[in-house]
Amino acid sequence: MAVMQPKVDAVIVGMGWTGAIMAKELTDAGLRVVALERGPDRDTQPDFAYPKVVDELEGSVYRKFLQSLSQETLTIRHKIGDTAVPYRQIGSFKPGTGVGGAGSHWSGCHFRGLPEDLKLRSHVEQRYGRRFIPPEMTIQDFPVTYEDLEPHFDHFEHVCGTSGKAGVLNGVRQEGGNPFEGSRQRDYPLPPNRNYLGAEWFYKAAREAGYHAYPIPASNASGPYVNPYGCQMGPCNFCGFCSDYGCLNYAKASPNVCILPVLRLRKDFVLRTNAQVVRVNLDRARTRATGVTYLDAQGREVEQPADLVLLCAFSLYNVHLMLLSGIGKPYDPVANTGTVGRNYSYQGKSAVEMFFGEDVQANGFIGIGGGGTTMDDLNGKQLDNGKAGFVGGGIIWARQPGAGPVRGIAVPPGTPGWGSAWKRAIKESFRHSFYYEVQGACMSYRSHYLDLDPTYKDAFGRPLLRMTFDWHENEIKASQFLTGKALDMCKTLKPKAMSGEGWKTGSHYNVTIYQSTHTCGGAVMGDDPRTSALNRYLQSWDVPNVFAPGANAFPQNNGYNPTGIVGALTYWAAKAIREQYLKTPGALVHT
């Protein structure tokens, strides 16, 4: 028999970015909120304190800040009809756990969406015709526009102390920023960070190719900062332990640094850690959630009743919980019915490594997660997809989140993996090489989806989530095109040697190599309940007192990192809850 907790106004599943934003907004509105986090509590002190936090073996091999897969993971297969097998070891993506979630060990790249990317289907159809979109490609417009989200993009940047340079301010182009971005009401709260060598040279290479380089918007503070909540951030010191690590410096924006200091003082906010939510409880008609059931630290079942349920777990686990709890109708790719699990998408990445002589002090150990240089000339509406022959664009960037030798040292092509020749190569390249990367959009397809695995179970006896995904010809073409452009750019820097290639035709999604943690879709937002699990306020069409903010809401993925959109969407949804839902609980959109 489950222990019964007193009912609260809202229960939040997961204490990463979306959970922290929701908790802040709902307690602001006077609600009593309980947050349930499956992992441990974490804060800068003591969890990310120097020097313990910069232990590369613990951070990048034992992966102490990431989710352990021993309790929960998913299964993956390339296509319908294959047997899916478990994602047994962390490889291509890195879900977080614990207070802060992936928002504590992210890098800090903080983009807004491009206006045209938020209405992708309309944009592509208008410009290239309906027939340009392959029939199996199920891309959709976001049901919100850039203009809808602009105030929330702006606010989230100010919560995060994002460092960057505006490219378009109230419709007027600004020198030094991204000339192709949507118009913003004001500049970033902090100026761009200083450039390491690779980021500086990117300007040179981009200029030669005729591209418009600009600083990556980075939620790694370029100076001291106090956010609108009164939370303080310190300047990034380029420590080189960003991705995979919590920030030792209060410089990288995280829920822990930017929101939780306020929440922890609120008496209407209760945070329970080591609390594993196993399902959302629904009424008999499955149209109303009554709360959630979780396992406490010891493993005892506890029921937490609530009027509102906010699914704020990592995108994949939001979808998992919806499927396990019977929220909405599971997607069936054969019958093309149902919505939960539909439109899973991902992101493409490839790197071009450049090797130089001893006179080039690239110093890859100097690192800042989000800082660097990028350009949008091959992204959004700038790219002529008709000519390029695929849907979606991407960005090329200089990034240097910090290279320690345990994380691997790149060596020129043809170098053996061990022995004296390898030693010589790592010695020559460690300080004198750097890379530029391509990050490409990923479309959604009828056969790429999430459902429950028929065989494998998690430690709590529940079926694992099953992912059916592979690179489609469209994304392979995009990878080859964009990587080709990156190679052309890199050649102008005249490295001694370089390596890098797009995906080969016919190659398959490889889960063993880190690719991107930008897993998107599966419970997407839309205007049509037949093709979306959530309405434009991230509210379940089927169970209106459940909201599911996160990258799960993206109908497809673009060339940018998702966190800026995820944060803005969460503030957008919170506003709708505060201003509309709380006055008249129920569906916010009627069809």
């Binding site: 910069v54 091999v61 200083r194 002090q361 320690g404 030798p405």
Partner: protein, 246 residues
Amino acid sequence: MSEPKADSTENATHPLSRRSLVKGLALVPLAAVGLPGCSAAASDTSESADTPGERYTPTFFKAEEWAFIVAACDRLIPHDEHGPGAVELGVPEFIDRDMQTPYASGDIWYMQGPFVEAPPELGYQGRLTLRDILRVGLGAADAHCRRQFDGKTFAALEPAQQEAVLKSAESGELQLEGISSKVFFAELLAEVRNGYFSDPVHGGNKGMGSWKMIGYPGMRADYTDWVEVRDKPYPLPPVDLAGRRG
């Protein structure tokens, strides 16, 4: 940062067979190599002159397994003109200790069955944890060597023969009883590299030898003053987690 202090690892015993100890010693450098980012005096510490095998008693590996690990370390990252080898930096000690961590017994891997064959792109699908991959793998590799080389174990082979065995495992060509040689080799190499490059607190990288070789400043984690410097190499030697300077 606190001042350098003496290495506190003092478990002095003799775990190596005489033969492999002698072999190991024969590979220890006679002359110090030129290392970037540190003075000759700084690199001439007592640690880098030690043979860690002399002082460390393995508690995970049995004697024959230990001999394999030491020999494999010596082939994978040999001492040469570029810098220190894995054996002199204590990598065997690192691996022996690492095998006894939760990580090596599957703490962060999903280890439930069923275990089925799958395309390599879908990742490792075996039922062995890391420490068992190494233990089963080196046992099988030794058994192979005994069959192939008149009863000699891997550690007893000539360096060129050892290299050939490792190359054949790396490519997956080597057929081993009970385990894929490719899986075994990949994990072995990863462990050797982890021990060679991670902080000395974990047992390898004695005296920060690998960091000095490649010019890694170690755990300094503050480069505010050097982000925009282009015309000269980073000047400071490494520090480790304990605050020692290399």
